[in-house]
Amino acid sequence: MSALLTANSSDYSQAMVTTTSDGVADEAVWISQAQQSDARAFESLYRMHVDKVYGLCLRMTGNVSEAEDCTQDAFIQAWTKLAKFRGDSAFATWLHRIAVNTVLGRFRTSKREQDRIQAAARTSPAPAALGDVGELRDLAEAIDRLPAGARHVFVLHAVYGYSHKEAGDMLGIATGTSKAQLHRARRLLAQQLKQQGFEA
């Protein structure tokens, strides 16, 4: 951490990369510093977690532009709420919750906004550069085509491994609803993937 603390603004990110071998300890320090309004420490947290947050946003929205906006909004929200973070859950989980709320907030904004997001998803879907190859890419694209409710549950539960209760809490739905949405998602995915000869 000493290298990090003495690094000037321009080489800060580089210093961070070389001092994250003890990532958990660094994260705790950065959280503490960021809670004192240290933007550079918050940037370190951003660098550490942006891929997780962006990945979740992209899976949930199915659209690059929306995922970028959601990621930025999520980190801005995290900055404003950071003083409330008490470490009751992992910081990554806390960020995930904020990201999910951000995505849902955009969907809830208005019917017109929802239509716009879904239209954008159709016209500029998540690109192939996700790291998914072959049939996994087919699955990713099929997930993107799911209705929002089913997609959100499938992404949180099946892709990210959250329990139905956790997913339900994040999405503001009952555990039973989460299970029903998962069932619906599986059924719709099965229909889509059968047509493509999916054999995972």
């Binding site: 309004s37 933007a39 918050f42 940037e43 951003y46 660098r47 942006v50 891929d51 997780k52 962006y54 990945g55 979740l56 992209l58 899976r59 690059v64 995922a67 970028e68 990621t71 930025q72 980190f75 801005i76 900055w79 404003t80 550069a129 996700l130 790291g131 998914d132 049939e135 996994l136 699955l139 990713a140 997930i143 499938f154 099946a158 892709v159 990210y160 491994g161 599986r186 059924r187 995915l189 099965a190 993937l193 054999e199 995972a200």
Partner: protein, 182 residues
Amino acid sequence: MTEFDDDKLAGAARRLTTEISPDRDLWPAIAEAIRTPRRSRWTPMLAQAAAIVLLIGTSSAVTYVAVQGQQGPVTQVTPDLIFEQTSFGSRYSLGPDFQEARDELVAQLDVELARLSPQTRAEIATNLEVLHHAIFEINEALEQDPGNALLQAKLVKAYRDELSVLKRVGGLTRNVMMRNDI
């Protein structure tokens, strides 16, 4: 879809990439957004303060009706005050007349409260506690937004309500004392 297919689907879902790098650096826009001082929660706080002030009004009215039914009409012990020197900003100073009356009433509060029934005392203590919480919340919001006229008005209202409760305590106990004297 069969159970086996479900398992295959679940397995494939778990193999999907969960950490994805954005194509461009999203930090500059975030840095720009957080460069300004952390936004206060004054809007929800204002709503909270308004709700508290409403609660105070209702609670005070209930207390007033309850106590009046028990002890007869209430007399005022201090004249109405003018807030002509109240100001806001980094220091929230109250008008001298207000401050003087408030200090005097606060100093007498414990003595006056001791003369009331436990139930009435508890109701007044609760009202004052709610008021003090409201004043604290509004002051916190004003620290973030010193020029907010609505918050300033809420603060004045909260202080007015506090003074009203304090005055009522004095009025009630004086009634009690008069009754005892007879």
